[in-house]
């Protein structure tokens, strides 16, 4: 029933992260119906809004107003809502989706790459200024990101970067949390002896990194990639200040502009499309999280995560 905890032993040929133990409870834990019931209430709180969103996405604008929120309206309009979402305003929603993917691939992908390289350096090398770098980066986490937004906007506008995708991508490239996680992960997952051996055999630093270190870092990389993806996919404030042109909006900004237009005089009220678009925006992320469960859970345990 119980497995003992493996302390991070000195390098073995196949380094393993500490595996989280099985629940250890004295004797046999009695399953508790009361506790399960309480947790079910918690799940209701979490899930009811999502159920409301799914059901509401099947309703027309009129159906939203005259049917109960947690039950279907007479007219099942999900498919027409989806096609309307993609055709409204010359299909701008599709463009927003592609923009979001672009920001995720370049922003989150780049952030992960930089974090992996940096974390590897912090874990396995000694270099001038190492302590300083780490202190400054951790200190920077405490600086409110939005406090940086206004000066960043002014700097970027002087460089002529505002209202281009670069204004969203470049700031997304830095993930202090990702760097920290990769540092902890690399320290545990890569035996220094292995690197020494590769160097003895005459492999250069670059080759050593790619052929020896990178494969060992894979689980950590997936975790960091997931969290930077969520951060980029869900980003709102940064694109809000950097972008004027709706053609470059990510999904989040697009949806809030659709929602806001209902409040303007003579604006087109399209709440059914806001709701359907919202559902389409969260489905990919939820799918990714469910599919990659194994990875992010083990990655979190590795670093006892903090962000």
């Amino acid at each position: 029933m119980t497995t003992s905890v493996t302390t991070p032993a000195p390098a073995k040929s196949a380094p393993k992260l500490r595996t989280p133990r099985k629940a250890y409870v004295p004797g046999k834990p009695r399953r508790s119906k009361l506790l399960t019931g309480l947790m079910a209430l918690m799940v209701l709180y979490t899930v009811v809004p999502l159920i409301w969103l799914i059901i509401s996405a099947t309703k027309t604008q009129d159906g939203l107003a005259d049917s109960n929120g947690l039950w279907f309206a007479k007219h099942f309009a999900l498919w027409s809502n989806i096609s309307d979402t993609f055709t409204y305003h010359d299909g701008i929603f599709g463009r927003w989706l592609l923009n979001t993917l672009l920001y995720v691939v370049l922003g989150a992908g780049g952030a992960t790459l930089l974090a992996v390289l940096g974390g590897y350096a912090l874990a396995k090398f000694d270099f001038p200024g190492k302590k300083g770098i780490f202190a400054v980066v951790i200190g920077a986490v405490a600086v409110p990101g939005t406090a940086l937004a206004v000066p960043t906007f002014l700097m970027f506008s002087k460089m002529g970067l505002t209202d281009t995708p670069w204004a969203v991508i470049i700031p997304s490239l830095v993930s202090p949390f990702g760097l920290y996680l990769m540092w902890v992960f690399a320290a545990e997952a890569i035996p220094t002896e292995l690197l020494e051996a590769a160097r003895m055999d005459g492999a250069g630093e670059v080759r050593t990194f790619f052929q020896v270190a990178l494969p060992l870092l894979a689980p950590g990389i997936v975790t960091v990639l997931l969290f930077t993806t969520v951060a980029t996919w869900n980003n709102y404030f940064l694109p809000l200040i950097m972008l004027k042109d709706p053609d470059w909006y990510p999904l989040t900004l697009g949806l809030s502009s659709w929602s806001a237009q209902a409040q303007t005089i003579g604006g087109d009220v399209i709440f059914n499309l806001v709701i359907t678009g919202s559902l389409l925006t969260i489905l990919p992320l939820i799918a990714v999280f469910l599919l990659l469960q194994k990875y992010w859970q083990s990655g979190l345990s590795a670093g006892s995560v903090k962000e």
């Binding site: 629940a23 001038p128 920077a140 990101g145 902890v184």
Partner: protein, 308 residues
């Protein structure tokens, strides 16, 4: 800010022996260089630029000129700033303990081994983390509404009239609920991950001593995950001080309740992008950043003290 303590057993090992130290001492820079370069561009440069901006003023007559600390004295006497700060202060005093308390209870319940269907609970409660703040806010905003929302359905079904959740009296609590919904699962997962790596030997010892479940929670589990509780508290406080997304997206639904200076961040945003007062906006942002850092630091010191 002092470095956060990495969890025990995750301490990086000392660097390789300095045999060929000279040749290798700069190799590490090759790997960390790209990160540092971008970091300098998007973190350090804006901070420096912000400080520079806060010391100047752009006036119609005389253009841009140095005004020393005038912007700061103006900010410290600015009632709009203090009101917004008081609002997020109240928000964090109530919302953060509630959110982290629930997250902790759920994590302990998951760790107790007494639940049916544990992994189902873990995943479902975590899911809202994958929902963007924009979508969460739009969704809850609809549900709060009396025209389309669940509030309307409850009123109809039970013949009651719930208070208007988007009215000035209630809107802060409504925002608190949205933020709690978004992050309770994420914090739960952090606590749960920390609980999973408590050495079994401690539980064995407790069993020999005949300790009760509650005693084990109080004397073993809570002290063991104290570090992650402190970290989660610090990040939640930073998040509360930065509150912007939820009020700004809810604003169209509650224009009377949510003014453009509702939170410090909303205020700096409005100053800069609606009022073109970049210098003053940078000043308010710096003061806010300093307050955040001081509070985070105090929490860390208090939290890491033994026997607190």
């Amino acid at each position: 800010m002092k470095t956060l303590q990495p969890p025990a057993a995750a301490e990086p090992r000392p660097a390789p022996p300095p045999a060929k130290k000279d040749r290798r001492s700069w190799t590490g820079w090759g790997f960390i260089g790209p990160f540092v370069a971008v970091f300098a561009l998007v973190f350090l440069a804006p901070i420096a630029y912000s400080i520079y901006l806060s010391l100047f003023r752009d006036q119609l007559i005389g253009g841009n000129h140095f005004v020393g600390l005038d912007n700061y004295t103006q900010a410290l006497q600015d009632s709009q700033f203090w009101d917004s700060l008081a609002r997020v202060g109240l928000f964090l005093l109530i919302q953060v303990p509630i959110m982290l308390g629930i997250a902790l209870l759920v994590a302990l319940a998951l760790d107790s081994g007494r639940l049916y269907g544990k992994s189902f609970f873990r995943i479902t409660i975590f899911l809202p983390y994958a929902v963007p703040a924009v979508v969460a806010t739009l969704m809850w905003g609809f549900m709060y509404g009396t025209k389309y929302g669940l509030v309307r359905d409850i009123n109809d079904a039970f013949g009651v009239t719930l208070p208007n959740l988007l009215s000035p009296d209630w809107v802060l609590a409504s925002i608190g609920n949205i933020v709690t919904w978004e992050f309770v699962g994420y914090n739960m997962l952090i606590f749960y991950s920390a609980l999973r790596v408590i050495p079994t030997s401690l539980y064995e010892a407790a069993e020999i001593d005949g300790a009760s479940q509650w005693r084990i929670v109080r004397s073993i589990k809570l002290p063991a995950i104290r570090g992650s509780i402190v970290i989660a508290t610090i990040f939640s406080i930073i998040g509360s001080f930065q509150l912007f997304n939820e009020p700004s997206i809810l604003r169209p639904l509650a224009p009377n309740a949510l003014t453009t200076d509702y939170t410090p961040n909303f205020y700096t945003y409005s100053l800069s992008f609606n009022g073109q007062q970049h210098n003053y906006s940078a000043t308010v942002a710096i003061i806010m950043g300093l307050i955040t850092m001081v509070v985070a630091y105090v929490v860390q010191l208090r939290g890491m003290r033994k026997g607190a």
